[in-house]
Amino acid sequence: MRSRRNGSRYARGSWRRKGVVRAAFESALTLCRMTVMTASRHCGQSASGFRVTSDVISSSFRLPWLAGTPGKDSCAIMSVVETQSLFTPDDGLLEALPVLRQLVRADYLLTRADYVGDVGPDRRRDLEDNFMHARRTVTARLIASGWSAPGSVLHPRRRSRRVNWARSTDE
């Protein structure tokens, strides 16, 4: 017979699992929204745009029916998603471009130093510090834009967004 203590432990685990599944689902859904938004924005300009985009989704989430979707079908998928209002305005990556540029530059300098091999240990350490600093800055920028780092708790801004949304719905 299962003890009361075991039962409560099982219940806690179950809730944790539910949370993980829900978080994974929300991530997938948000990415699909972003993808569809990008695809629809460029549908008229580039026929291959949506194919590339659907391939990204397909490879990331193992959805083979989306891969290589030709023009007409992709527009049909988009209209279905559009009617369900699955759009999202921004993912914060374009805002992060200035710090991403710094990171790419720091990585380039470090790689070049290793390749050419003409820098002393002090200079090498400086370049490495620069690269680590740039990585930390990019991580901070992404978190400030609402992204949640791997293994971290939900971002407070995301929580408050949820609360605000619930309040506005109640009102």
Partner: protein, 78 residues
């Protein structure tokens, strides 16, 4: 980094996983440079400018996909 306030904390796992994303980040930065160049030169036809912007957005999407695949969770939009 000062404008990032309290978010400028060390996240070793997240920072290490960014290394694997460097090719996609490089592609995004390069695509953004092309957009800036097209706008600055003003020699590119509007249709073509749309093309470079589309490439940049797709590069951003690729970065987003790789971030999610490496354990990041994207911002939620109600």
């Amino acid at each position: 980094m000062s404008d990032l306030g309290i978010w400028a904390q060390p996240f070793p796992t997240a920072e290490n996983r960014l290394i694997a994303l460097m090719p996609a980040l490089r592609a995004l930065v390069e695509a953004d440079r092309e957009v800036a160049q097209a706008a600055w030169l003003r020699k590119v036809e509007p249709k073509m400018r749309g093309g470079v912007e589309a490439r940049r957005d797709l590069a951003a999407l690729e970065v987003a996909a790789q971030l999610v695949a490496s354990g990041w969770s994207p911002p939620l939009h109600p």
